[in-house]
């Protein structure tokens, strides 16, 4: 592809923000410059005013501006960062293509600023043998998206919790690790075998930590809100118990297989995060992630509250009462809020944030879980669990940044070097592309996202590229409209509406 003679430019908040690059999704981007943007490089830890030049898909130069050149550029406008990496998403293919496909999920991810996505194996058939991996790969190729599509294989055959899946073949086929996500690894005995066998392969077990006995029939986090609303309680103890089990079994397995690795997905309670913190301090090879919705939403949303979790905290750090505050405005029992693990208390959300800030949580992962209208437009207790969240993750984290609760660089690190570091801690993958350092590296294929913190966009069914419109944020304005996503030097997403608004 020949260089574009007319270099395109992005100016921070000057109204000259134009990024129409010409090529279609999947094509190598030609030449373009971004001037006067706020650059964030999570690898070096550096951020500041700068400009980048991309030529024929390569990040040709990264220039940090100083003095008068940098005047007027701050971190409140256009930001350039490495492309995001989601450790946990559901694209539903094969088997549930009415909810999402690799193609629609990739489009949604690119719209959210992601350039790499790790898919969970709860498809139909489950990703429990290499043939399914091949189907996913060929669907990704056919879709034309340049996103890096990675996947976890199942721990057990058919995710049934009985026998191990074809782990060795799956490893050879390139899975990132093993998970029965959607459900926990059913028994401690199976978990021990999985940790040992996966450890032998240099890969992790990713557990959805839930004691299913304690959560049978559960509808909402067990606490004040569920009590008032007559919803069957989903106790924090179910997560704490499972995390505790997992850590004990990991410690045991390590004696036989030092390469055993455990990653805990979407940890949501203060008590479970405290266990992870302690285990990490003791040197156990465990990592974990938290989701945007567990950081920013709380169980009171089910009753009709719509304030961010940190706005629902009392001065002493405890959860406020939405009834007492007169904070209930939306129709209660919105099934978009039904998710597993459930939305917890504002105090738990604050614990998720604290874990992100102190490194107990290694990454933010979306647990993007699209569902059809048929599965969500039903009674709360009968609705499918899950939030369509890969397109709103950045906006939700920026709300935390805007509120002064999370530094911008830390938020972006949790979407880039955080997940990459998790993968790098898995021996088989430490030197593979999936574990590459996500920085603004000159000479490498351009893999980046450009968004404008000063530009808010409204979350609507039409705005979401995902087939899953099950977002509790519908109708809400989020800051940080994504203008451009480039994955591996190819165009993944471009905001063409931004063009049309320019006169």
């Amino acid at each position: 592809m020949s260089p574009k003679p007319d270099a395109r430019r992005v100016g921070a908040r000057s109204g000259g923000r134009q990024v129409h690059l010409g090529p279609e999704v999947g094509q190598v981007v030609g030449r373009f410059e971004l001037e006067g943007a706020w650059l964030v490089d999570p690898v070096s830890g550096r951020e500041g005013p700068g400009e980048i030049v991309v030529t024929d898909g390569l990040l040709e130069s990264v220039v940090w501006l100083k003095g008068t050149e940098a005047a007027g550029v701050d971190d409140k406008g256009v930001v350039v960062a490495p492309g995001f990496f989601d450790l946990h998403a559901h694209f539903r293919e094969p088997g549930f293509e009415d909810a999402e496909t690799i193609a629609s999920g990739s489009a949604a991810a690119a719209h959210g600023g992601y350039t790499s996505v790790a898919l969970m194996p709860n498809t139909s058939p489950a990703l429990d043998e290499p043939g399914v991996m091949e189907r996913i790969r060929s669907a990704a190729r056919a879709g034309g998206s340049p996103l890096e599509i990675l996947a976890f294989g199942a721990v057990s055959a058919g995710r049934a919790g009985d026998q191990l899946s074809a782990m060795g073949e799956l490893a050879d086929a390139g899975v990132l690790g093993f998970s029965d996500d959607g459900a926990p690894v059913r028994t401690p005995k199976l978990l021990r075998s999985a940790l040992l066998y996966a450890g032998m392969l240099g890969l992790p077990v990713v557990d959805h930590a839930e004691d299913s006995e304690l959560t049978a029939g559960a509808e909402a986090h067990e606490g004040y809100v569920a009590s008032v609303m007559g919803l069957a309680g989903w106790p924090a103890a179910a997560e704490v118990n499972a995390v505790s089990r997992d850590l004990a079994v990991l410690e045991d397995a390590l004696r036989d297989e030092p390469r055993a690795r455990l990653h805990l997905a979407h940890v949501s309670t203060a008590a479970a995060l405290a266990l992870v913190r302690r285990a990490k301090a003791a040197g156990l090879p465990v990592t974990c992630d938290v989701t945007p919705h567990h950081l920013a939403l709380a169980d009171e949303w089910i009753a009709g509250a719509r304030r961010w979790s940190w706005e629902a905290l009392g001065a002493d750090g405890t959860s406020r009462d939405p009834w007492a505050d007169g904070a209930l405005h939306a129709t209660p029992y919105n099934t978009a809020l039904r998710v597993n693990p459930p939305l917890r208390t504002p105090a738990d959300a604050a614990a998720c944030l604290a874990a992100l800030l102190d490194g107990t949580a290694d990454a933010v992962a979306t647990d993007h879980a699209p569902h059809t209208v048929v599965d969500k437009e039903v009674e709360f207790g009968l609705a499918a669990n899950g939030i369509s969240g890969i397109e709103t993750a950045l906006g939700v984290l920026l709300a935390l940044v805007d509120a002064g609760r999370l530094p911008l660089a830390r938020a972006l690190a949790a979407l880039t070097v955080g997940p990459a570091g998790v993968v790098a801690s898995w021996p088989r993958l430490a030197t593979t592309p999936a574990a590459r350092r996500r920085g603004l590296t000159e000479g490498a294929p351009a893999d980046l996202v450009v968004f404008d913190r000063a530009d808010r966009w409204r979350v609507t069914p039409e705005a979401l590229r995902s087939k899953g419109k099950n977002s509790p944020l519908l109708g809400r304005d989020l800051s940080g409209r994504v203008l451009l996503t480039v994955a591996g030097g190819r165009l993944a997403y471009e905001d063409r509406e931004a063009d049309s608004t320019e006169s």
Binding site: V228, G230, L231, W323, T331, P332, E379, F380, L382
Partner: protein
């Protein structure tokens, strides 16, 4: 309007799903309207044309003969056309969605939907898509507003000046799974009653936290309440004693050792009821398990007002159908269902 110096209150709720969004003056309006309806019921011909030609549809996803008949009687007393649909919740899980059903009923002309459902919150989903009025006949563990209102009406009939302020009301039984208890918490704390919830710890789970949250008078218009497993403390000097039904499934769920043990420790027998005030009344929302949560002699004693509750239920439901039917388009502009 403005009868006896009371402040004129207009009813402008399009639906009645829970009492959390209903103010005390609105509850008093319901009580006054119920008075009028009791007047109708005292006539030789118990029928007025108030809802003549209006279509009231009963959609019951959970078997409940007495509640359904009470609503049907109320609607017929107001000369409404009544259609009853009984369906098992299991058909919902078989792919017949509530949303489809509601749209179909609306197309068939339903104007007021009386709904009973086993899943908490289901009437909000119905109200979200239905063009008419939704009157909740009980949803899951969540709310049973007409029951709480008929309970309140019955208590007021038996208390001096109909005033519950400082009056001790003890509700005993399976609080955890009870929509009757939850709705009564809203109405009785609004009435200023000294409310006590009592049951075994397994059937009170979460209510301590709820009571603690409300203990400081945090909720505007609602007072505090007490939660205890000490049946004697709950009943002592009570003005009103209410037993809730205990279901056999609670034993299979590992929440109770046996119905026999429940009866021995929490059943309302004559000895326990004697702890309450001499003039105290005994209530039960029905259907009763006599010999479990209430002893047969207590259920038929002079203190029991259980059949009065049934009769008042018709009047309260007439009042609510009448009030809801009077709400016009102008009141339907708010975006929230609350």
């Amino acid at each position: 309007m403005g009868a006896e110096g009371s402040i004129a209150v207009a009813w402008n709720h399009r639906h009645l799903i829970d009492l959390d969004a209903v103010t005390w003056p609105e509850i008093e309006l319901i009580m006054r309207t119920t008075d009028e309806m009791k007047g109708v019921l005292a006539r030789p011909i118990r029928r007025v044309p108030a809802l003549n030609g209006r279509r009231v549809t009963m959609l019951f996803y959970e078997a409940s003969t007495r509640t359904r008949v009470s609503f049907e009687t109320a609607a017929r007393n107001l000369s409404a056309d009544v259609v009853s649909i009984a369906t098992a919740t299991s058909s919902v899980t078989k792919g017949e969605s509530l949303v489809d059903t509601i749209r179909t009923l609306e197309a068939l002309g339903a104007e007021i939907l009386v709904m009973r459902h086993s899943v908490s919150g289901a009437p909000y989903l119905a109200a979200d898509i239905f063009g008419g009025h939704v009157l909740n006949g009980g949803d899951g563990w969540h709310a049973h507003p007409t029951q709480a209102l008929l309970d309140l009406y019955t208590m007021r009939e038996h208390l001096p000046d109909g005033d519950l302020h400082g009056r001790k009301v003890a509700i005993v039984g399976d609080i955890l799974h009870s929509r009757v208890a939850r709705s009564n918490i809203w109405s009785l704390t609004a009435a200023g009653a000294d409310l006590w919830l009592c049951g075994p710890a397994t059937l009170l789970r979460g209510f301590d936290r709820w009571a603690a949250a409300w203990s400081g008078g945090a909720i505007p218009g609602h007072g505090r309440f007490n939660v205890t497993s000490d049946i004697d403390a709950a009943l002592r000097d009570a003005d009103v004693v209410m037993a809730l039904r205990i279901q056999r499934e609670r034993m299979q769920g590992g929440l109770l050792p046996s119905l026999r043990e429940y009866a021995a420790r929490f059943g309302l027998n004559a000895e326990r009821v004697a702890l309450a005030k001499p003039e105290a009344i005994v209530m039960h929302p029905g259907p009763m398990n006599e010999g479990v949560e209430i002893a047969p002699d207590v259920a038929v004693s002079g203190r029991a007002v259980i059949t009065e509750q049934v009769a008042n239920g018709v009047a309260v439901r007439m009042a609510l159908l009448y009030l809801l039917a009077g709400v016009h388009e102008t009141a339907r502009t708010g975006e929230s269902i609350r």
